[in-house]
Amino acid sequence: MDKTVNQKAWFLVLPVFLVVAFSAVLPLMTVVNYSMQDTFGNNQFFWNGVGWFKELLDPSTDLGGRFLASLGRNLFFSMVILAIEVPLGIVIALSMPRQGWTVAACLVILALPLLIPWNVVGTIWQIFGRPDIGLMGYTLNAMGFDYNYVSNAIDAWVTVIVMDVWHWTSLVALLCYAGLKSIPEAYYQAAQIDGASRWAVFKAIQLPKMNRVLLIAVLLRFMDSFMIYTEPFVVTGGGPGNSTTFVSIELVKIALGQFDLGKAAALSLVYNLIILIVCWIFYTVMTNAGAERKVQAESEPAVEPKPSSGLKPVPALKPKEGVA
């Protein structure tokens, strides 16, 4: 049968084209436009070429110094919370019950922190940690620890990290639990017969079967923590000094505080680019790991890497660009 040729069919693509143009392409191009110019208000713009980008990557300038310092803090923060949340999530998943009503209870309790809005989480911890009225802050001080997240940088860091661990470890635990549940009972029985110790079972069966969901967990947690804004902003406001100022907080300061649209736009683009690159690396690693496993697909847990999960962080950034 011949295919019907009808060029009017192109009109069917038009709605999608328009939606994408207005929702993604135009705002992004506006940001690109700003990043090449400088303004002193009054809607007057001056051409600056790649000047902002040069400054951004040069630590000796004010912009570059602030950007690279906040980037360093952000990467350090992501590494720390990954190093805590991933092993902790695995341990929680391993110690959860496999059947009975306690499963449902555990799942609900674990899911609770995930359902709380970012702002509220920040407020909870802001109050919780206050030395004068906060339960944790007051108790710590009463016990003789000199804890004050407003004046002490280390205390501020500890608070922000503990808050993130409290908020997001559940996600890792739930993903790991799903991975664990998909392991057939025969594997455990075989390991019993082979005389495997608890540690050997973990190393030989549970960890290898979990590595896919773990990869997804690491990706999601890295992205989210790399883009973190609300919670530290509510708790510490980026302080004391600049000690908890992450890239997104710095970006908002430049864009809204100083109204430096050109600098903020350039920073947005670089920020976006870093996230896209990390996404791409993770996605490539994940698909390669998937291809390796295709052969043994019949006995594998049915957790497929979703392409969308790799791209998810980008739309989440959009509001911040719109601001610039």
Partner: protein
């Protein structure tokens, strides 16, 4: 190496207090001799896997004892019993090579490295896995993986028995046959007790020297394939073993005569002491019933169809409500759709409430 005794062994998933009718495994006492090849045969849900898991220690029985060489091992954990088990789906440790997979049970038991290498090489040779020893186990075919599962059991020199839980389910038919021959060869070579669970009678009859037939949580008969075929102890065995299964026909039996539909069939033995009120049936294998041209003195039946199995033909016939299969000799045709049935009296068995009754000579 051990003789395995099951003493009044029973298991219920609902606990010991559940009514006995609901037990997954009803009380059984039997002996598995050292070096025997056994098959546990029965349909799905008959309790065969439960029995296997009780022997391997994955399930603790509700009551009864298991003895290995007269030593009670019921309270021992799976690790402490010298048992190897191969599961329905191949269990492979993904991150390890084939050789590491085989070495795993020995490493867990702290065997010296030199000894491990020696055993792994030996088992690799025995199972034709030598070329793969250094390759990742995940990329292999299902039958190779199943061989690795088996190898992990065999690699231990202290293993008393190898248990198989429908190990060929995921294997291609052609390879099934090869793998089964391999198992037989291993059995001869290693002098191990092997217990093989299956619902496939061909698999059971070709693998085992003793077949244990289970039905509804009970062991209904255990014997050589020939015994099961010639003298089924239970109508279920007659029906389950053989293709087509045994003909089971309700009948009135008195002395040396069985009466079906008013027609009298002679029996070789006398049955005078049948339990009163029991459901009486006679059983005869289709191989010992001939469909012939109807004649006076023969039971007449209606032919429904004739199955041609290539080497042999079976007529599917009906007598009243009872359906039967009978051998249709070469050249047999029926003009009016009816056939006379000629029974071989030496192979007619009488069953009271489904159990075989021995007649007096």
């Amino acid at each position: 190496m051990a003789r395995i005794d099951l003493v009044d062994l029973a298991h219920s998933y609902g606990g010991n207090d559940a009514p006995q009718e609901t037990f997954a495994l009803k009380p059984v006492t039997m002996t598995w001799r050292q070096g025997g090849a056994y098959a546990l045969l029965g349909p799905s849900g008959c309790g065969k896997t439960t029995l296997l898991n009780v022997i391997s220690g994955i399930i603790t029985p509700s009551r009864g004892k298991i003895l290995f060489d007269e030593v009670d091992i019921t309270p021992l954990s799976t690790q402490k019993r010298n048992i190897a088990q191969v599961f329905q789906f191949p269990v492979i440790y993904d991150t390890m090579t084939v050789g590491q997979n085989l070495a795993f049970p020995l490493k867990n038991r702290g065997v010296p490295k030199a000894e491990i290498d020696k055993r792994v090489a030996e088992i690799g040779r025995l199972l034709d896995l030598e070329p793969y020893l250094n390759r990742k186990a995940t990329r292999l075919t299902a039958d190779a993986k199943q061989k690795i599962s088996l190898g992990r059991g065999l690699v231990r020199s202290d293993v008393a028995a190898v248990l198989f839980d429908e190990p060929l389910t995921v294997i291609d038919p052609e390879l099934k046959w090869q793998l089964r021959s391999k198992l037989k060869a291993l059995h001869r070579e290693l002098d191990l007790t092997m217990i093989y669970v299956t619902h496939d009678q061909t698999e059971a009859l070709t693998f085992a020297d003793t077949v244990v037939v289970m039905h509804d949580g009970r062991v209904v008969q255990s014997g050589t394939p020939a015994e099961l075929f010639d003298k089924p102890a239970h109508t279920f065995v007659g029906y389950f073993i053989g293709s087509p299964g045994m003909n089971i026909i309700p009948a009135e039996v008195r002395g040396r005569e069985a009466r079906i539909d008013g027609h009298v069939i002679a029996l070789n033995r006398a049955y005078d002491n049948l339990p009163a009120g029991a459901k009486i049936e006679i059983g005869v294998r289709p191989e010992f019933v001939d469909a012939v041209t109807p004649a006076p003195g023969l039971l007449t039946s209606k032919i429904e169809r004739i199955d041609d199995l290539g080497r042999i033909r079976f007529a599917r016939v009906r007598v009243g409500d009872a359906k039967l299969a009978a051998r249709a000799p070469n050249g047999f045709t029926s003009s009016d759709g009816s056939a006379g049935l000629k029974f071989d009296p030496a192979h007619i068995h009488v069953y009271a409430d489904s159990r075989l009754v021995e007649g007096a000579a």
